[in-house]
């Protein structure tokens, strides 16, 4: 926190008389403009992933749409539209100072709870989960995706609140028992609501995200270890007492038993693995994967979109996607590392935990090393809510970055 004098220096320097527009233009294009100070590596990687996702989604759906007499480019266009909307939402999340955001965090959190309750009342059931609110014009809203953002912000607020104050210079102390309890309380409510849908995958994302944030925040170790233990016991209990929906249990047990049945959940995975292996090193070429174009892999534009990459783009392409995701996560962690306060660092941590868990489980599922959980692959899977939530999360990362300590011109 040695260079915190930077912005002050900027503000106190004599500013030549210019028009207001000119000022704005300078701010936008100048050496110290916020635009320049964005993490462009992160942003370009995210956009690249989303565009690749758009192509994969297109490849996965055009045949079927064509056969149905629809516009084969429908999903391509929608994915790009989702990306555009997501970028706007991300920009908003970037522009609002996250320290201001902190003040609104309770409202964001409450808003997400309203969405989760609404989906239980108004929602539609897709693939066994009551997770979607169907909007006009063919759009759907999945409030649980936004709950991820809300929970990350909320938890970061509580765990980072005790943090240092730049003005007082008080060093932050680790969160205490009260903070941990509060975070757990805040987490349990959305988890409970999502369980009612039920959307086991999203619950797991939230659990791991909160666990990660607690661990990074320096919360008492016994809490972290205790929670892990609870998770294990809970998981055992779920299977023992059949608390899951039968289809969910089937997914887990079919994974555990290595069952590559020709139908049901094992079918999805084995078809995905066949498709991916069929790609070989260089892939079959976009739009030329026989398994993909033959629509052997169910849900191949959403949960199993990685199988399209595997078959059509091969090891080069699919590995490239993993590398791009790695760069995104790397940059996000750098942002957290460089953050000037714990709140920013915890937001970055939460987003990383969220993205990492979702990416690993999703790709691992396509590769047959993770159970089928119905989680989208960030940026690549088709889905508006997921894309928006992801882009907001990226916007938050940029927000933290713009105001990070290593940036001498942070606002």
């Amino acid at each position: 926190m040695t260079q915190e004098a930077g912005p002050t220096a900027l503000r106190s320097s004599p500013v030549p008389i210019r028009g207001r527009i000119g000022q704005l233009r300078d701010r936008a294009s100048g050496r110290h403009s916020p635009l320049r100070r964005l993490d462009w590596t992160l942003q370009l990687c995210v956009i690249a992933l989303s565009v690749i996702g758009a192509l994969l989604v297109w490849s996965a759906t055009r045949q079927r749409l064509d056969e149905a007499g629809g516009d084969p480019q429908t999903f391509l266009k929608r994915h790009l539209l989702n990306l555009a909307i997501g970028l706007v939402l991300g920009a908003v999340a970037t522009v609002v100072d996250y320290r201001v955001l902190r003040a609104y965090a309770p409202f964001v959190y409450l808003g997400s709870l309203v969405g989760l309750v609404a989906v239980l009342v108004l929602g539609s059931t897709i693939n066994g989960a009551h997770s979607w609110i169907v909007l006009p014009a063919g759009f759907q809203l999945q409030p649980s995706e936004f709950a991820k953002v809300a929970l990350v912000v909320g938890a970061a607020m509580i765990l980072g609140e005790k943090g240092e104050n730049r003005n007082t210079g008080i060093r932050r102390s680790a969160p205490g028992h009260g903070d941990v309890l509060l975070v757990l309380g805040l987490t349990v409510v959305p988890i409970g609501l999502i369980m009612l849908q039920p959307d086991f995958g999203t619950v797991m994302v939230l659990v791991f995200t909160i666990l990660g944030m607690l661990a990074i925040s320096g919360a008492p170790r016994r809490w972290v270890l205790g929670l892990v233990l609870c998770g294990v016991l809970f998981g055992g209990a779920i299977l023992e007492f059949h608390l899951l929906q039968p289809y969910q249990e089937a997914r887990l047990t079919s994974f555990a038993s290595g069952n590559k049945a020709s139908s049901g959940t094992g079918y999805n995975v084995s078809q995905a693995m066949i498709a991916i292996a069929n790609g070989g090193f260089t892939g079959r070429g976009l739009l030329h994967g026989q398994q993909t174009q033959g629509q052997f892999v169910p849900e191949q534009q959403t949960d199993f979109v990685f199988s399209v990459a595997g078959e059509e783009l091969g090891y080069l392409g699919a590995g490239g996607i993993v590398v791009l995701l790695g760069v995104v996560l790397w940059r996000a962690l750098s942002i957290g590392f460089d953050s000037q306060d714990s709140f920013g660092a915890l937001i970055a941590t939460g987003v990383v935990c969220w993205f990492t868990f979702q990416s690993f489980v999703n790709i691992g599922m396509c590769l047959g090393i993770m159970p089928v959980t119905g989680l989208p692959l960030p940026f690549l899977s088709y889905g508006g809510s997921s894309m928006f939530a992801n882009m907001i999360a990226v916007g938050l990362l940029q927000n933290v970055r713009l105001r990070s300590r290593s940036d001498p011109y942070a606002m």
Binding site: E164, G218, A277, G280, A318, G326, L329, G336, F360, I363
Partner: protein, 769 residues
Amino acid sequence: MNDRMRIRVLLLRVLVLSLLVTLGARLWVLQILDGDHYRQVAETNRVREVVTPATRGMILDDRGQPLVRNRTSLVISVNRSTTDRQPDHGRAVLARLASVIGSPADDLTKRIRFCAAQIKPPCWNGSPYQPVPVAKDVSPQQALAVIEHPDRFPGVSADLQAVREYPHGSLAAHELGYLAPVTQDQLDKQGDEKGYHLNSLIGVAGLENTYDDELRGTDGVERLEVDRFGRVAGTASTTAPVSGDHLVLNLDLDVQQAAEQALQDTINSLGGGARTASAVVLNVRTGGVVAMASLPSYDPSVFVGGVSEQDYRALSDPANGIPLLSRAYQGSGAAGSTFKAVSTAVAMQNLGAKPDQKFPCSQTLQIGDQTFHNFDGESAGPITLHQALVISCDVIFDQFAYDAWLADGGLRNGRGPYAPPEEYFARMAEAMGFGKATGIDLPGETKGSVVDRAGAKAIWEELKDSYCRRAKNGYPEEPDPTKAERFRKYAAEACVDGYLYNGGAAAQFAIGQGQYLAVSPLQLASAYAAIANGGTLWKPTLAKAAVSPDGKVVRTYPPTKTGTLPVSQDVLAYLRDGLHGVASEPGGTATGVFADWPNDQIPIAAKTGTAEVEGKGDTSWFASFAPANNPQFAVVVTIPDSGQGAQYAGPVVKRIYQAIYGIGQQAAMPGGKPPAALPRINADGTIAASPAVGALTPAAPTSPGAPITATPASTITTATTPTVAALGSGAATPVSAVATSPRVMPPVSTSPMATSPTAGALAPSRAPP
């Protein structure tokens, strides 16, 4: 943010990195290391094979007359992948179809259901994507009714399919064999190598089996790329079917017909029933099988389209004489006096008997406590071996064998030590091809048996427990108490000293009797052919050549030498002369049979045999070759449970020669020569019979010369595109037991002729008096 937190973020970074590396590694394993395996799975996942079966080659006789050919059959099939999608699962369509083809709708429903553990035929055990044939040989009107109304019969098709046809019914059935659907096991093990497909028909018996690779051809395969829903997206590759080669045989249709007819007439005259009979005609100069017949026979067309369990059971039922079993090469028994030709060779070659040396043909011969009688109980005084053959004197040969047995140490139950036994009779029998397979190009040939001292001991080791059990428990299942007691006594003796080589049985060996010898008619014919041709054992061969559908000779099957008789030419000549005497000299046992035979033109050499079989009538044997001075053919006929050789088998042999040489009828082999040239098969698939070679009577209007128009193979190829979709990943249930058991031949020991030591264990064929 403090430094400890930074450290934790760094740790998180390591965790994230390791997870991503895990994904990358797993991706490498899946796409690069295990890629081939999965790509193969992907292939079967994605590619459906539509198989156009190749037209199977015909089997032609030596002149090109088809013995097995193909005909087209109109077949109505139901494609379940279409009917199942109809709202009522095709019930209405099946009902309409039932009224068209005139069978109950319920029957159709059963035929198209999928076979399972609980669902037995009629049911469909092929792939669900493949049309299920529900009616064969429908009329063109019925087929048209279906084809012209696709709206009323969605999912129903009528195609021409090629099916095997046997223009001469049961003729040579045991040699031709039959087809059966490929089994899952064969598909798994040989499917790729042999090009089998689901629903392929493969030869499982006879020549259809031996030459399956030549006859089958290569199926045409169109590989269609389909999506998850089975919709065709494109064609990956197409190969046209290649018709199988035709097989030209040494077998002659006319001789075969004559042999079967003569056997059948004899059986009918004996009272029919489950009687069996067989005949073998060999070309002594090549081993070519000119005819081989066994009765009862069967029409192989019962196997077309799958044999019913009931039919199959009837064909393997001993009460019907087990029609599936060929007595000519799959059954064996005592050869009777026909074996004296072998014994004469031993006496002269190994035991020092001279051509004009005389031996006493006394009334009886005492060996131990057994008394052997001459067949007709008469004494003929001292005679030469030539005469012994002519009048078939038993005692002389018994004496030779008994003396040889004594020279080998007799029972060898004394102190010893003994020199290695010579066992001249067993050695000569083996050298003449007995006790081992002749190597004929047919599956399931019997080896017969020649039991020497070591063999007897080995058999006893195996059976002594059962002998001893029988000695204790007797034969309660035997209704005749005196017989049961006799068996029990025999078992009791065998239990104690069954390993001893029995002197009586060794003596009986020389006259083709007793438990140490069992021969098949084919083996006997092969041995006589070797005696006739100067000592060469040829492998009996049915196939002469494989000819491609467009007439090119793909492969010939030249004569294969399997051995040389260890007998000098002098002895062989003496033998031939003696055997000629049997059919020509006064007192010869076969002279009566050939009394009206033109012996000066076509001298016959022959030997009669009358083998005694426990509990049955005698087996009538007749072994021969002709012409005796320049042999061309060897003919052997066996009729179990009939009577003397000259009385039953002899006349059949004579009728076969009459057919061959055209005595009182058209000659099947003009000039007594098998055709040398192969029949010409024209490129259009028609067959021009080969011209007669060296015909003595060129004017004879025999069948050769006139081209025989067989069902043109090319016509079948074009007319038949039975689009049988055999897909790679179909769930194939095991085919029913009946259809799958290839080459189910009842063990030879169950055959009525079998008197092998194994069979004798529980029911001794010849218990000591």
